[in-house]
Subunit: 308 residues, 2 copies
Amino acid sequence: MLTYIVGAGAMGCRFGYQMAEAGQKVVLFDGWQDHIQAIKEKGLIITGDQDKTVALDIRPFGQDASVCDLMILFVKAHQLETTLQETAHLRDQHTKVFCLLNGLGHEEVIKRYVDPHNIMMGVTVWTAVLLGPGQVRLKDSGTINFCALDPSGKEVGLEVEALLNQAGLNATYDQEVFKAIWTKACVNGTMNSTCALTDCTIAEFFSSEEGRLIVRQLMHEFITVAKAKGIALDEEKIYQYLMDLSVKLAGHYPSMHQDLVQQKRLTEIDYINGAVARMGADLGIDTPYCKMVTEFIHVKERQIGVRA
Amino acid sequence: MLTYIVGAGAMGCRFGYQMAEAGQKVVLFDGWQDHIQAIKEKGLIITGDQDKTVALDIRPFGQDASVCDLMILFVKAHQLETTLQETAHLRDQHTKVFCLLNGLGHEEVIKRYVDPHNIMMGVTVWTAVLLGPGQVRLKDSGTINFCALDPSGKEVGLEVEALLNQAGLNATYDQEVFKAIWTKACVNGTMNSTCALTDCTIAEFFSSEEGRLIVRQLMHEFITVAKAKGIALDEEKIYQYLMDLSVKLAGHYPSMHQDLVQQKRLTEIDYINGAVARMGADLGIDTPYCKMVTEFIHVKERQIGVRA
């Protein structure tokens, strides 16, 4: 099976490395020239749980190549549509497209370019940090849950599960993957936007009574919209999970804080709280907290000049 | 008529100075010892439209004094209840209490200590800046609109109007004062909390499409709650007023930004958006934007350590 990993950021590099290490045919595609050049010249420099340098096949997006069997998407959410267009020549009617992006609603975008029976949606708790061109830090272990969007995709799904597990990626073919995707979105939707907007650590936000009122309401909107889409989540269980996680991650700033406050980059708000607000509007469900926090983050993105 | 000005901050000093200058009997009360000492020793130093130093009668809150005819309240909103308790010995059943505090709902607090027929509620666009102990900057002109809470108070109200106008304070006895109070609260409730939370100038916030969506919704909640309380405001007219004001004040940070971001002080959010949220809850009107922005400001107040 020939796998293309589209988006060779931290996570793309982790997957590419582990699959190549397992002897699989894998090629990475990316748009960052310095990163591509560094890997071509010196290989990917890995630090963290182990220190090593590995050769990887990495190419720029535009480069011609044969059609692949499996395309794993690891681009930023706002690049998804463009990426699908730019990589169309790398897919045919047999190519499976596997989406592991953070956030909600990506399947709707992918469906515009890929037959539903070729789409697989997943969520992962693997982590990785890009330290610079050609350098990643890989620590700790993770898992993947995923499922074919169409029941007819199950057979190939199980092949993909075996492939990923051969590479030590702990994948599980999971019919209820959308529960996991929405649960992760709930975490991001309550921690990311709030801490980014208030410039708070997770502890600073979650330890205040009013912070928890906001978390409660945001979470309630996620769960109400999920329910209307046929995804049943246990509200009390997720609230407890969020509280436990807020203690575990207490002193940390979530990734959207890193994007907005520290790096002054565009955030993924449109695919988290913004997605719930859009879906809510389509379903006639009011989601004022998701709407307002999305609007606030957009104001900040405009203020720092990263939203046109 | 013996007037006590309770709260000798910037505005209290302006009123005290103008009334004393007009030959009226006026005493200021305050809790800031350095400020009192400075005025007692050197007088109030005024800069701005004119430079002069004037003697003023200023005393600490606890000090005994005869009962006054008129008590003008210029304390911070969160000090109102305590101040009413601490100044009870300065009032009798004839004393009029005149509230010029920013924000909403103060009459409910005052009613706990003062008979409604002795209460006057007002709003002013006079400005003043406290530069330090005993020093204020007074620039430009202003007006006062006010009204007795009970129709029986009109006669004395007109006496107070004459008194204030003799001191050049441009007062108008205005039966529709609550429209003016709510309009000013609408300005504060859309500019203050939003710019303080996002660390934006008024232009930065109001020039973004999403900023204006937030302004629209906050304003709508103010107007809906006002309407339920019998105060009819013209939504389109106020929106246009806000837009014009945002152009006029473009480069400025509103006062709540000064409190929260620059000076790290407790804000007046509970008497602006927070008041609308409370009144809305009592009336069964949902005000999610006012609620959420109040909660966010509380989180920030806790983060900087000014909310217990």
